[in-house]
């Protein structure tokens, strides 16, 4: 039987008096899927990802994540659920004045609490080692002690990925993970995500403006247009023409 990791029903969201971003979205994501969320600028991809992780509440509709409904959970259970998910934001959202290594160690804060996880100097040896391993995976081990606000865009992107991966999430959400990466690094990061999906059964939901990436790495395509789901199909069944229409 297929396990459903994310189930969204009738999602609606609008910001203030602006036109609504979603007018009722229904979709589901199965465990181990790698889903590409596509759509033109401002169609609400980032907003949808935030709703999925319970970072903002939808105006209407329900989201069930890993079998739980964020809105029904108390603070402790909510943290527990979030500790099993990872987010790579569109803005990389590193803490600017701390080192790369400290930023990656923050990835453990969902499972552990206290000053030992605030900065790398105080962190336990296992956490530092695990953070270095994560940095090696994204090819940044040599910049571990660099301040996060002194990185290039692509480097900080990769640190954000390392922070999201360090506590082995079951469900990984990545908002344009390759946007500031050079083509080579972009392929490597997508390949890394694919390895996670195939080897460790991680579920990945990513957005991309790179149609080629979406079609070749996504098992499924979710296309947003005009506040509705315009495409929801296996990527093999989606034609380039259908993709082009999303942006037309």
């Amino acid at each position: 039987m297929q396990v459903i990791d994310l189930q969204a029903n009738g999602l609606c969201k609008r910001f203030g008096k602006a036109a609504p971003v979603f007018l009722g979205l229904d979709f589901s994501i199965r465990q181990g899927d790698c889903v590409a969320l596509v759509g033109a600028n401002g169609t609400g991809k980032s907003t949808l990802l935030r709703c999925c992780l319970g970072l903002i509440a939808p105006d209407a509709g329900r989201i069930s994540l890993l079998g739980m409904t964020m809105a029904d959970l108390g603070p402790a259970a909510r943290r527990d659920l979030r500790a099993r998910t990872g987010l790579v934001g569109q803005k990389h959202n590193l803490v600017p004045r701390l080192s790369v290594l400290s930023n990656v160690i923050h990835g453990f804060l969902g499972r552990h609490s206290g000053p030992r996880y605030w900065v790398h100097s105080l962190a336990p040896a296992w956490a530092r080692a695990a953070a270095m391993t994560a940095l090696e995976k994204v090819g940044l081990a040599d910049l571990a002690l660099r301040r996060a606000d002194q990185l290039s865009g692509g480097q900080s992107q990769r640190v954000a990925i390392a922070r999201a991966l360090v506590c082995n999430p079951r469900f990984l959400v990545a908002d344009e993970p390759c946007a500031s990466l050079d083509p080579q690094a972009g392929e490597e990061v997508m390949a890394l995500f694919m390895t996670l999906v195939k080897r460790e059964g991680v579920t990945v939901l990513f957005t991309s403006h790179n149609v080629q990436h979406a079609l070749s790495y996504g098992d499924r395509i979710l296309g947003l247009q005009g506040g509705r789901i315009a495409i929801d199909a296996p990527s093999a069944d989606v034609t380039p023409l259908e993709m082009a229409k999303l942006y037309g």
Binding site: L53, L55, R78, R79, D80, L81, R82, A83, T85, G86, L87, G89, K91, N93, L94, V95, P96, R97, L98, S102, H106, G107, F108, L109, G110, R111, S113, G114, P115, Y117, W118, V119, A160, R163, A164, C167
Partner: protein
């Protein structure tokens, strides 16, 4: 040309009815206040000779008790530094409770901000009077007054500094499931640190300015010499005290400006 089709935004907005009425009200309020403050052209015109008389009697500044005054100035700075340091340290936890969306709910934020507002509303000399009653005459009362005054100032502005940090890193840590206290310590405070340093330096400058006057109510420092100088018509000594205060306050402000520049960097 298609520029006629595109309407350019107005450079200025003509004030509406309510706007015009409020300008008139403000103008009347100012005139009314001048009247209440005893505005008097006669007395203003007769003041220069009296001022000149004061300066001629106060000049040259006295130098024969310079050493005693210098030590009083050192005590003044000690009051300021000790009081500001205690105030700054206590401000941090209080500011964490006052900052919206950091540690606690809106209700607590509001209560803490009202208390901080009350602390600021009470003038530093009034705090000094209160502490003179509580712990007796002398610099200790002054130091406590400076500490509470600094809490009122730094508590509020530390909280504002934290609210003004980029919410992105905090959101990222929320998404990992971090607790609020961990988010505050590992994302909000590090990002607000340069602003904290700047605010603290302003707090110290404010403390130095305030500490020079505490002596007027017997709470220690060089202010007592100013009062005695005027009471005994020893204007040269009073002049020396005024000049010393000016030099120290300007000096501290300059050092503060240099440190701020060093720590925060230009243009940030």
């Amino acid at each position: 040309m298609d520029s006629s089709a595109r309407t350019l935004p107005h450079r200025f907005n003509r004030p509406g009815g309510i706007g015009f009425v409020s300008y008139v009200i403000v103008a009347f309020a100012i005139l009314w206040s001048l009247e209440g403050a005893g505005w008097s052209v006669d007395r203003l015109l007769s003041s220069p000779p009296k001022l000149a008389d004061f300066f001629s009697r106060a000049w040259p500044p006295s130098t024969h008790n310079l050493e005693r005054l210098a030590w009083k100035m050192v005590e003044t700075l000690q009051i300021a530094v000790a009081g500001a340091a205690i105030g700054i340290v206590l401000s941090l936890p209080i500011a964490l409770l006052a900052a919206r969306g950091v540690l606690v709910g809106r209700g607590v934020n509001l209560v803490v901000r009202i208390i901080l507002g009350f602390i600021r509303a009470v003038p530093d000399l009034a705090w000094a009077l209160v502490f003179v009653v509580a712990v007796g005459l002398g610099p200790f009362a002054g130091m406590l007054a400076i500490a509470i005054d600094t809490i009122g100032f730094c508590g509020r502005f530390f909280a504002d500094d934290m609210e003004n940090t980029d919410p992105g890193p905090a959101e990222a840590l929320t998404a990992t499931g971090a607790r609020r206290i961990d988010i505050a310590a590992s994302a909000v405070i590090p990002a607000a640190l340069p602003a904290f340093v700047s605010t603290s330096l302003f707090g110290l400058e404010k403390a130095v300015r305030a500490s020079t006057i505490l002596g007027l109510v017997g709470a220690g420092g060089i202010g007592i010499e100013l009062k005695v100088g005027f009471d005994l018509f020893d204007y040269p000594t009073a002049m020396t005290v005024i000049l010393m205060i000016a030099v120290v306050v300007i000096g501290v402000e300059q050092i503060g400006a240099v440190l701020r520049q060093k720590i925060i960097g230009p243009g940030r």
